[in-house]
């Protein structure tokens, strides 16, 4: 992961065999792009003059959020704009660029903030202007902070942007946690009776937008929706950044891939042979295990053929690794990352981790798999944030993809070497 900054430009280690090759858009200005490199590459723009027309362009472009939920950006922005007008006195809205990257296997946002902070800020300013002059924040972890601060200092009107440091916890980027951190210095999710787009930071209509999404907004504001749609597919237009990692000696790499890209092609571009992999974790720790062949990356489509890119994490497991042990480690981590505010998460996730660790450790008890399934169903949908169902989703995908391994484990042996039950 520490190599993420060295991976620009993302040169494929092998020639791509599919249609994944994508001219860099977001990182086109090159490494550590300052203001002059930025303007030299993308041309000058006046993001602060954006109006409601920008939201129409975002709708036409079909841009979806790149932070995980893949919600349509224009809908989110339009909801906030609607809340501004609803009150007796219009409340000044807030736009927050969310650079928190709590996913341990994600490094694309850090890479973007390091090399293209100005593109993110262009998008932030444009979206804030389109909402009639919103307050602006950049929320970023320590690694991205100096780059953001330098960029803010380099550009005209940069002083209006406030920069807040995000802590390095898994849930620090959950949108209510982002607002809570900026308001109260505590990056844990809050109970939401109302959406943040209605009542967020200090009760104002608030948009929390992933930094890559904002960089895409900046490009759409410059070049238009039709240009954006030249990459990707009709249902998944544009490009996205993915953080690809795998078994050594594969290097961690950030790639920009077109929407609807085949997973196997992305793996090959990152230097891996899909045939030498047992499974791939896609989306992050709240994502899903899939087999390396046969799926495309897209937020929409049947789960048998399409896997949601979520936060853009792609992590490959080699044929020797035990998927159950890998999942047990992840679920143990997720249980430890519970904010311990909500009972079902505080008790349910450690219970799930415990059962999974017993299976991984080779306890010959055929009831464990169904107990795991029961616990997952029990915690799902019951929390201030989606940490419980995200964890459940990962576990159910493991139960499906590693079904044979589960059977082997509960019968007392592990099919992969190095397992405690081997």
């Amino acid at each position: 992961m520490s190599q993420a900054n060295d991976t620009y430009p993302p040169v494929p280690l092998q020639p791509a065999q599919d249609t994944t090759r994508q001219e860099p858009r977001l990182l086109a200005a090159g490494a550590d792009a300052g203001w002059e490199q930025h303007v030299g590459t993308f041309g000058s723009s006046e993001p602060h003059t954006a109006g409601p027309g920008l939201l129409e362009a975002l709708a036409e472009a079909g841009l979806t959020g790149r932070g995980g939920a893949a919600f349509e950006t224009w809908r989110k922005a339009t909801a906030a704009a609607g809340s501004v007008r609803k009150g007796l006195f219009p409340a000044r809205p807030v736009v927050i660029a969310n650079g928190a990257e709590g996913e341990p296997l994600s490094f694309k946002d850090r890479t973007l903030l390091t090399h293209a902070p100005h593109l993110v800020i262009d998008g932030l300013i444009a979206l804030a202007a389109a909402l009639g002059g919103a307050e602006m924040y950049v929320y970023a972890p320590a690694a991205g902070l100096p780059h953001v601060q330098r960029a803010v200092g380099e550009r005209p009107r940069g002083k209006r942007i406030r920069v807040v440091q995000a802590p390095e916890t898994f849930i620090s980027g959950e949108s209510s946690a982002v607002v809570n951190m900026i308001a109260n210095g505590s990056a844990v999710p809050t109970d939401q009776r109302r959406r943040l787009s209605e009542s967020g930071l200090n009760g104002r209509p608030t948009l929390v937008v992933n930094v890559e999404t904002l960089a895409q907004v900046a490009l759409i504001a410059r070049y238009g929706a039709q240009w954006f749609r030249q990459a990707g597919t009709g249902t998944d237009p544009g490009t996205r950044l993915v953080s690809v990692s795998g078994p050594a000696p594969v290097r961690d790499v950030v790639l920009e891939v077109p929407g609807g890209a085949p997973l196997s092609a992305v793996l090959r571009e990152a230097g891996m042979d899909p045939a030498a992999l047992s499974a791939v974790l896609v989306g992050g720790y709240h994502g899903r295990w899939v087999r390396p062949a046969g799926h495309t990356l897209s937020p929409v489509g049947p789960p048998s053929r399409v896997v949601r890119p979520g936060a853009g994490v792609i992590h490959a497991l080699d044929l020797q690794a035990c998927g159950i042990q890998a999942t047990a480690r992840i679920v143990s981590y997720l249980a430890g990352q519970s904010a311990r505010q909500c009972g079902p998460c505080m008790f349910g996730l450690p219970a799930m981790a415990s059962v999974l660790n017993r299976i991984a450790g080779g306890e010959a008890n055929p009831r464990l798999a169904s107990e795991l399934d029961r616990l997952g169903r029990l915690v799902s949908g019951r929390g201030a944030c989606r940490h419980p169902e995200g964890t459940t989703g990962l576990v159910s995908s493991a139960l499906e993809v590693f079904a044979a391994d589960f059977r082997a484990h509960v019968s007392g042996y592990c099919t992969g070497p190095g397992g405690a039950a081997a």
Binding site: A59, T78, A81, G343, G381
Partner: protein, 86 residues
Amino acid sequence: MKTHLHIDWTSCDGRGLCAELLPGVLDRDDWGYPVARGKVGRERTDVPLRDADREAAREAVFLCPRLALSLLDGKAPETGKQVPGQ
């Protein structure tokens, strides 16, 4: 206008009064926290109520020692009717 019973999980401590007052709506989990019967996903946090359960729900809201419950009236779901920028 559909009424929902909202559970604030950050306040709920699993005392169980709500499940006693609304036995047809709420069950309790392994640790005593309420579980909406027969519901999945976010309907376990914003639990839709039948008219017949509204009065008991009001009582549960009033009596919850952790003030973790509230009623949401006729929350309009986000629809596809939105027009960009309007």
